[in-house]
Symmetry: C2
Amino acid sequence: MTPIITAFESSPDRGRGLARDMRVRWALEEVDQPYDVRLLSFKEMKEPPHLALQPFGQIPTYEEGDLALFDSGAIVLRLAQRHAGLLPDDADARARAVTWMFAAVSTMEPPIVERETARLVERREAWYAPRMALLETRVGTRLGQLSAHLGDADWLDGGFSAGDLLMVSVLLRLKGSDLLDEYPNLTAYMARGEARPAYQRAFAAQLAVFEATQAG
Amino acid sequence: MTPIITAFESSPDRGRGLARDMRVRWALEEVDQPYDVRLLSFKEMKEPPHLALQPFGQIPTYEEGDLALFDSGAIVLRLAQRHAGLLPDDADARARAVTWMFAAVSTMEPPIVERETARLVERREAWYAPRMALLETRVGTRLGQLSAHLGDADWLDGGFSAGDLLMVSVLLRLKGSDLLDEYPNLTAYMARGEARPAYQRAFAAQLAVFEATQAG
């Protein structure tokens, strides 16, 4: 049975691959599993049928027969546990990869999202400049720590894993920002992620959705 | 081999059980596993021996023989996968419990932590009152969605799971805040978590650390 994921009908990132369905698409491509996509309008995301699948009214969700999941991290983990390609075989190494999955979404991503939110919501407030300075310091601290850990390794812990998939996805939110200028090893790490054929296929698929809505 | 976790030598929450070692202590008590604790000063947390275990300089960590993990969510998941008591037996139900684990730390916790951070860091800024209003609206939205999902159920999805352990832990950060006043089902949910004997044992253990430092 082909699983179904949900994604934005009209992605606010305009096809730059930053919506969280991209993480699930990338994981599905890494493990070579076909999938279908159901597109949702912003209105539909807040209505009961979708809230029954995703109580916070977000995308993506994942439906496979009777199983319905949400949260991109949990969906990627499910795929990684069921199919080869996203977690090492060794049990200890698997646990370390899962550590990086959680670190990506609960340690690295929140200050990055907070900065994005401030850029959207607080841009016209009198406090914007000093607030942004605080937020950029906070993001910079995390980037420095991650850069120190990565060093000159290709991936966070041995070979490419679901931990890298989520960490690269989180860092890509900063693409084009000068916050990354000090950390060439992180920009190289992101580029290694983006260069993976599975990433490329997933990126093309989400971009095609955006382009179709523009054409329509 | 008894695992070793790390915790604050002097917890900033003064023994209220809000530091993230509490989540791991609670999980260890739920699965009835003994553990040792290594206490760290703030200075030690930022030094190379600890950074080798936890690149972001935080607690808790988890060491078990040659395996070293960090991130409380990942540690709780490791314990839940290795011992009975924190995940259902059914594979689909396990995946849903893991969804709630990720939702707790990546959807519910970030706005709650952001509010706490603002209370510490931005309290004296001119923008504090309007910023706090924004943040409380954001937290309130998430609480309303969670409350609507929980309804009159005891736990988020069937019986108590690691998803509830993390979600209750996250919500307890708001204990005493009037943000919870509108959601009696959430305060009852938190109380059910706190009433569990495993929670009580974990809470007593972390409080004993705080009281010992005060006595010393």
